[in-house]
Amino acid sequence: MKLKDIYEQKYKVLLLIPFIILVLALLQIGIQTAVTGDFVNKGITLKGGSSITLDKTDMVNVEELGLFLQDKFPKADINVRTISSAGQVVSVAVDSDAQENSEINALTKAVTEKYNLGKEDYSIEVMGSALGNSFFKQTFMALIIAFLLMGIVVLIYFRTIIPSLAVILAALSDIIVTLSIFNLTGIKLSTAGIAAFLMLIGYSVDTDILLSTRLLKRKEGTVMDRVYGAMKTGLTMSTTTLVAIGVALIFVESEVVKQIMIILFIGLLVDLVMTWIQNVGILRMYIEKKRK
């Protein structure tokens, strides 16, 4: 059997793939939560950390220090900034996600040994999260309402329940699976990363609405003709975005923007499965049932 035949005829079996992926993803997130206490590796902006302030700044080069520390502690989330007064740099702040004493000590040792600093040349402050404790709760509430509202809008637009649920399910699966793959990379999530996950909603909705419209509202050709038509457009959309993100990943220097790009890249790949296998499968089953 050729790939095309499998895609056209065995779509109900294929439908298992996205659901198995979804279950595996939920499993990964569950294990991650059980082991670390958090569903995702949180970075400095999300969980807080510590700030080492160096008061002797004449030999410190901010960029170089940042690279040096990133190199030495590849797993840590480190950010080096200058503090100035009247145009003069008075101190350098090394912000990191280190909260445990051992982590802070290792980092402090690296910095003080590099510049030969004494105890009086630096100070350490432990910072809490920039976001309140209620941040994640609020965000989850907002997300639940967001998915409800989106469901209502799609329902009004297409006036059928199953296809509307399919759009929402695709967007939700996309976010969950991407989150679990992101966890596996070991990168620490920043607030900007959260924005990236939310951006997936927009990308996912685009392809799904395209597919639903072509399958449900158009009459020309067979169902499969319409699936392929939609796929041609949809794949052009995903390809342009993936290529643009790929190029951005190579050239972007900022860690934060890199993180946004990585999440989008994973998310768009996952979206291909969720749109062209999951959503197509559900819609074809729906159309078939309606014909009977």
Binding site: L149, A192, M199, G202, D206, T233, T240, A244, I245, V257
Partner: protein, 528 residues
Amino acid sequence: MNQRLKNIISNWRVIMLVIFLVFAIVSIHPKVFGNEGVTIRSVVQNSSAELAGIQNPSPKLTPLAKEKIISFNGEKINTADDFYKLTSNLKENRSLMLETSDGFYTLKTKRDVSGEIDLGLKIYQAPTSNLRKGLDLEGGTRVLLKPAEPISEEDLEITIANLKERLNVYGLSDVIVRAASDLAGEDFILIEIAGVTEDEVRELLSQQGKFEAKIGNETVFFGGKKDITYVCRSADCSGIDPRRGCSKTSDGGYACSFFFGITLSEEAAERQAELTDKLTVLSEEGGSYLSDDIALYLDDNEVDRLRIGADLKGRATMNIQISGAGAGPTQADGVTDALKNMKRLQTIIITGSLPVKLDVVKMDTISPSLGKEFLDNIVLVGLLAILSVITVVLIRYRKIKVVAPMVFIIISEMVLILGFASLVGWNLDLAAIAGIIIVAGTGVDHLIIITDETLKGEVISDWKKRIKNAMFIVMGAYLTTCAGMLPLWFAGAGLLKGFAFTTIVGISFGVLVARPAYAAMIEQLLKE
């Protein structure tokens, strides 16, 4: 071909896009030449600069409209370094000439509070457009606050929430507030704010903000939501008091009064009725008043004292006027100061008092977390991304007629977002950049949808129908994405708010203005 071009230019959708673009560019006002000089960020109170008549820039001014220093003692100032070099070794009691974009000033050098000779001017390199850069991109002020007495974790959280609200109500949105502690376990609060006037913020943050209105020794109401349900901040019930206005003071300056209306809760109004009922009516020239005044206190200092009209005796009035004053060397300064005090008092009354007084430990300027080269790099990456998009669509469609308008539309959409950002004066930060990325990304998606729907010309011959079909999908995706973003906008958490807002504004401009113009363009270009 000429006829087609004419048709495109005269199409109303294209005309609308061009009008929006012109507006956007005017509001961004990019400046390629004439960027020399440094802009005044703030003027320190009672410094040489303030005494010479240089005013603190109003936060409402657009970045390009702020006062710029052009020369110092005849020497031209091009960069911030020039300014620091020229002002670093000043002698006491010398007269200096300062030329700014607003005029000439003569400054007399003097020692400041710490005994150093300082002009009291905080400056930064003059901006090149009206785009405001946020904390991530431009850095700002870092304030370390310490509670005056040890407080519980719960109170610390209340304090942080209250400070956040205070800064928000005051109109500063690009703010990070968080708890911090040193290794000895002492609690601090760390605040980072995108470039602002330091004095104002210092007062706003360090004031505990215990606001009370008293008649005799009895409190009528406190600041905060429990007693005061509404504080008027619109022009019809707040501003300079028309009945009291400004008057000359004995030392030659001007004092101006402000007022604003508030609404009391029923409970507080009852308390007022009880207290006024005990007072006696005094008849004097100009009307009848009660025997005691209502006095307003902020952190136990009297702000103002008002007579109570006799008709209010024993009545539970819920609408009350709060007043206070400001002063300055000229009448205009007096008005500015009064309005500044009014804004601070309103903020404090709305947000209530902090559980504890806070001391400002230090206040510094902090460099942007994203680094200096960030913006240059992001622009480069953006251009490369657009180039790669062009390559892919060229391979797919092989028609310059399709690709050229597409590129024009993508760039237009970004200009529209930035134009809107500078018009409403919102800070460009990481959230905004994330929003712009999603708008550009879904923009390309929608242009491809429109192209594919219209290129399928063999099946449907009617162009209007084809575009209608395309816009059906685009609108569906637009409405759904908006529905997803709206709750995040209202969720309240800073970053998400900015992101949701940028996304909604950006895709709205895209779907309602730019993308229909694209449909009109390729209709003209591809029609047989």
